[in-house]
Symmetry: C2
Subunit: 100 residues, 2 copies
């Protein structure tokens, strides 16, 4: 089974290359989280939002990580985080070329 964690929150930058430089160390630590497979880092300069789409191996790991990440974002000055966990319908996703 695979689980998607989708996270988004209000964000005022840095964006793009500067975001990469500011968050590189954090990204490396995220790769070491239990159950973690991958993360797409997302950003929208027009709506002033950022976030991430994650694939996890199990639901518990995704929930534990979401709690940790929301606390971290709070410490960065981001009080509210939208976070949702879903199981993946693998057969339909494979039909639509989703990589596993």
């Amino acid at each position: 089974m695979y689980y998607i964690l989708q996270v988004d929150f209000p964000y005022t930058g840095p964006w793009g290359t500067a975001m990469h430089q500011a968050m590189e160390e954090l990204a490396r630590s995220i790769s070491l989280e239990p159950g973690f497979i991958w993360k797409y880092w997302t950003e929208n300069q027009e709506t002033h939002e950022a976030g991430g789409i994650y694939l996890f191996r199990d639901e518990k790991s995704a929930a534990t990580y979401l709690e940790k990440h929301a606390s971290r974002l709070k410490s960065f000055g981001i009080p509210h985080v939208n976070g949702k966990i879903f199981s993946v319908n693998e057969a339909l996703s494979r039909l639509n070329h989703a990589p596993f």
Copy 2:
């Protein structure tokens, strides 16, 4: 550039294999949408929600698809859809093993 479209909405089933069977034809049509790369089909029986995470080649294709998909969901009896489009921070995502 790559763009993530995240979509979720209230949903009461079918789930799992029955969802696969009910949505297979729709999934095949989604693969033909302009700019489409892949979709993960998401479902959560506890929160009664479903949706999808999409990767698109350009922002305009993602926005056009979101409008079409929201109209289709309305015709299925789903009045409100949460849909957000983000650009992908590719350098950070590659650090976190995201497939491109």
